[in-house]
């Protein structure tokens, strides 16, 4: 059932721009990315939007829809009332390049700052033995598609450019948690490094990141809170610290 959809789309670049009203046809089952593409093909040939898989698997088409960080490819047109004007704007936490495309290089810089995974020096290919239950905790975080919606929504950096330097953001807290819980990673100070180098302490667990995660990763409950708790443990309880070091080696035969 075709319907007309009223959109208000940001057009512009880092210097200037504004919202432009367009009306576009929308068909049953379509998502916001479909109607953006129809606008592009029929009305505004140079409308910039970043996208790739159109299946919620690559995390490229992150935008803000009525102010909420969403994947355009996973947001159903049917979830909006026909009378409603839907506003589509670029991610607010990052500089605009053009229209709906932002410069997300902040995230790649932060990725570079997280010390890489390091396996035991004597680990030979094919020799690792790990139980499913031991890999599952890290696997949850490895579901991350790097859409950066959690980074965009996080109020520590959303309107606080000054915090960006010392704050890695939720995406990299789950990366640190993943490495911390990785049965084969030999770097032992992930928790302290989250706290001391990546700004974990600035997070005050409002769970906004968890709410926007399209992969439903329990960022706050399963990554941030345990790391915060264990930072406390580790800082004040040397026995627990030793225990965690020994446990880490258990997965290797």
């Amino acid at each position: 059932m075709a319907r007309t959809m009223k959109l208000r789309i940001f057009r512009g670049n880092s210097k200037d721009g504004g919202l432009q009203d367009v009306s576009v046809e929308a068909n049953e089952g379509e998502v916001i990315l479909d109607v953006i593409h129809r606008v592009q093909a029929e009305q505004i040939g140079d409308l910039a939007v970043r996208w790739n898989c159109k299946a919620g698997k690559c995390g490229s088409c992150s935008v803000e829809i009525n102010g909420k960080p969403r994947l355009a490819c996973m947001t159903q047109v049917a979830s909006f009332d026909e009378a409603e004007t839907v506003t589509i704007t670029p991610l607010r936490a990052f500089p605009v390049i053009k229209d709906l495309v932002t410069d997300v290089s902040f995230n790649y810089k932060k990725a570079m700052e997280v010390r890489a995974y390091e396996p035991p020096a004597d680990l030979k290919p094919g020799e690792a033995r790990m139980q499913q239950i031991d890999v599952e905790r890290s696997q949850e975080f490895r579901k991350c598609i790097e859409c950066f919606l959690c980074q965009d929504t996080c109020h520590v950096i959303r309107d606080h450019e000054e915090n960006k330097k010392s704050f890695a953001g939720p995406r990299f807290f789950i990366r640190l948690a993943e490495l911390d819980m990785h049965p084969l990673d030999t770097i032992r100070n992930r928790k302290q490094s989250a706290q001391e180098e990546h700004g974990l302490g600035m997070c005050n667990i409002t769970k906004c990141c968890t709410e926007v995660c399209p992969e439903h990763i329990r960022i706050t409950d399963n990554a941030i809170i345990p790391m915060k708790e264990r930072v406390v443990d580790v800082k004040y309880d040397p026995l627990r610290w030793l225990g965690s070091v020994i446990r880490k080696r258990e997965g290797i035969n």
Binding site: N13, N27, E28, G29, E30, V31, D34, Q40, A41, G45, D46, L47, A48, V49, R50, W51, N52, C53, K54, A55, G56, K57, C58, G59, S60, M74, Q76, I97, K98, D99, V101, V104, Y108, A111, M112, R115, A116, Y117, P119, L123, P125, G126, A128, R129, M130, Q131, Q132, V135, S138, Q139, R142, K143, C144, I145, E146, H182, L184, D185, G251, N253
Partner: protein, 630 residues
């Protein structure tokens, strides 16, 4: 433009940052070369993330009988013996090492009870062979490779004070041309998608790792990036493509709603017990078991069902036939009027597995259907139909080095290279292909650079490449690139699709020529800054080449095999099995020429039962090869 031109010098430029490109980059860096990785998307978004089922490698973790020889045989059977045997051999032998290496780099695969990497069943694979992470194996692969690149960069930062000294990623850059001087590769030229500004890489070696070309077709599982760039760059640089008639239509794409038509439904659904039925409720695959597979697939439901618990004493369910067979069967059912409301067939796993197991084994499928189609696959059947998924044809390469034939300094790996999969690729053999031949392309480039050194780019070449990029802005023409792309997709889908005929292919060739002529009149609106209409103009040029190569090769091959079905020549022909179609581009049209396939070595020949080979080979070939040399 030359006053603004960004210029870089590297030992090797890798075009594409999916599994093959990143694996090549690791190999080249570890050998001491400087590497530019160029990709159209952001880093980590390449189409490899979409791979669901797993990576095929005969580690034998679940069934100890598995080994490289069984994997090799399965791959050759899947490709209907049109595979380049040497590529299939290298692939089967090296895949386990490539998977284990990923684990050393931090990948976390699902485990067996003994704590080894778990392996799952898949179409055409005799034993459980696919290492997997739920149904998001491709994401695990690309993230692991991406993080491996970061690890190497961090090390360079520590050792040399500059993390990007030896590996730099150039994201959102399109390469429009491979540059050559004195008959050899000298670099690559393109533009930044962000601002349209041009960029020159001077490098004696270039590796193509650009993936597929599915966007040439209307219904496809490919993302926008799958526009055949590497295929086209190889052709334009004077290389050739091999067997471009072979496209894999994956049997199970979503058919509803329209906006997700073509989106992949992983084969794991069938591997884990999903059955296909038509609108009459009939499990129809039993009617479509070809003679060559009759001894390996169950011809009744009882035996097929027993196989899930006892694989030693039962034949496999026919839902797990190679993809080309299943796609044709579904196509026939729909054409015969036994399709579903939205023009597919039913795929049902809800009756076989409990809801919690489905959600655990197939999390992204559950998510995909629930969020995009409003279907809960733990309770109801999915509607599925064929979707253009993979191109078996690709750059014609030397098997051991991945060197593109006739273009010194150019290499190709992964989907944009041809030969490995013959006429049809088995599921799971793509991720392993990326790793095995990505690494080999890296090694090939290392050897080449060591013995050849730099090959400076001339200013004439730069000026010519720049002029091509500027052209659509100066064109007063009124053709719209989106509309032309749409017409090309319709033509490819309707006339060069799953079932082909002589008249339709001839019609397609004429239409494609017409579209090419009209494409000369594309006028681009707007400026250079992140302008998708401008970007599509270049992608479209590549897809026109893909479509022309596919249609012309398909017209010449008068038989049906794997991903090429001719209604007017419905059977396999042993004489056509001996032939590769090699395409060449002269700047205005594609020419197709036939070359004899390399013969199987005696060692590989002897891995097969002679009676099986009789189904594929001519009697001359059999008597020759039996006494053949190594």
């Amino acid at each position: 433009m030359s006053n603004q031109l960004e210029r870089y010098k590297y030992d090797v430029v890798i075009i594409g940052a999916g599994g093959a490109g990143l694996r090549a980059a690791v190999e080249a860096r570890e050998a001491g070369l400087s590497v530019a990785i160029v990709c159209k998307s952001l880093f980590g978004k390449a189409h490899t993330v979409m791979a669901e089922g797993g990576v095929a490698a005969s580690m034998g973790n679940v069934n100890e009988s598995d080994n490289w020889m069984v994997h090799f045989r399965d791959t050759m059977r899947g490709g209907k013996f049109l595979n380049n045997y040497r590529m299939a051999e290298l692939h089967a032998k090296e895949a386990p090492e490539r998977v284990w290496e990923l684990e050393v780099w931090g990948a976390l695969f699902d485990r067996t009870k003994e704590g080894k990497i778990s392996q799952r069943n898949f179409g055409g694979h005799e034993y459980p062979r696919l290492a997997h992470v739920g149904d998001r194996t491709g994401l695990e692969l690309i993230r692991t490779m991406q993080q491996r690149i970061v690890a190497l960069q961090q090390k360079d930062g520590r050792d040399h004070g500059d993390a990007e000294k030896f590996i730099k990623v150039f994201a959102e850059v399109t390469i429009t041309e491979i540059l050559k001087e004195n008959g050899k590769v000298s670099g690559a030229y393109g533009y930044r998608r962000e601002n349209g500004e041009e960029i020159l890489f001077e490098a004696p070696a270039v590796i193509l790792a650009t993936g597929g070309a599915g966007k040439t077709f209307k219904i496809t599982s490919n993302s926008w990036e799958g526009t055949g760039d590497g295929h086209a760059l190889a052709l334009k640089a004077g290389g050739h493509l091999v067997d471009m008639e072979f496209f894999q239509f994956h049997p199970t794409g979503m058919v509803w709603p329209p906006s997700v038509r073509g989106l992949l439904v992983t084969e794991s659904v069938r591997g884990d017990g999903g059955v296909l039925t038509n609108s009459e409720g009939k499990r129809f695959m039993f009617d479509y078991i070809p003679d060559v597979f009759k001894d390996k697939y169950a011809d009744n439901e009882a035996e097929a069902d027993r196989w899930y618990t006892d694989q030693a004493n039962n034949r496999r369910p026919p839902e797990l036939l190679p993809r080309d067979e299943v796609a044709r069967a579904i196509n026939s059912e729909i054409k015969a009027g036994r399709g579903t409301e939205h023009g597919g067939v039913y795929l049902d796993v809800s009756k076989r597995l409990p809801a919690d197991v489905i959600k655990k084994k197939l999390p992204s499928m559950w998510h995909q259907f629930y969020e995009l189609a409003g279907v809960d696959i733990t309770k109801e059947a999915m509607e599925v139909g064929p979707t253009c998924h993979y191109v078996m044809g690709g750059a014609w390469v030397e098997p051991d080095t991945a060197a593109v034939i006739d273009v010194p300094g150019l290499f190709a790996a992964g989907e944009c290279a041809g030969g490995m999969h013959g006429s049809n690729r088995l599921g799971g053999n793509s991720l392993s292909d990326l790793l095995v031949f990505g690494r080999r392309a890296g090694l090939g480039a290392v050897e080449y650079v060591k013995s050849n050194g730099a090959n400076p780019v001339s200013e004439g070449s730069v000026a010519a490449a720049a002029a091509k990029i500027e052209a659509p802005f100066n064109n007063p023409g009124s053709e719209n690139p989106y509309a032309l792309h749409h017409e090309l997709q319709e033509t490819a889908h309707n006339l060069v699709g799953i079932i082909r005929t002589k008249t339709e292919l001839e019609e397609a060739i004429a239409k494609i020529a017409d579209l090419r002529a009209r494409a000369k009149n594309i006028g681009v609106s707007g400026g250079r800054q992140f302008n998708p209409g401008f970007h599509l103009t270049f992608d479209l040029d590549n897809m026109l080449l893909i479509a022309e190569a596919a249609a012309k090769s398909a017209l010449i091959r008068e038989e049906s095999r794997g991903g090429h079905t001719r209604e007017d020549f419905p059977t396999m022909s042993s004489t056509w099995r001996q032939v590769n179609n090699i395409t060449t581009w002269d700047g205005s049209s594609i020419a197709v020429e036939q070359k004899h396939l390399p013969d199987l070595t005696k060692e590989l020949f002897d891995l097969f039962d002679i009676h099986e080979l009789e189904k594929y080979m001519t009697s001359d070939e059999l008597s020759q090869s039996r006494g053949g040399s190594n």
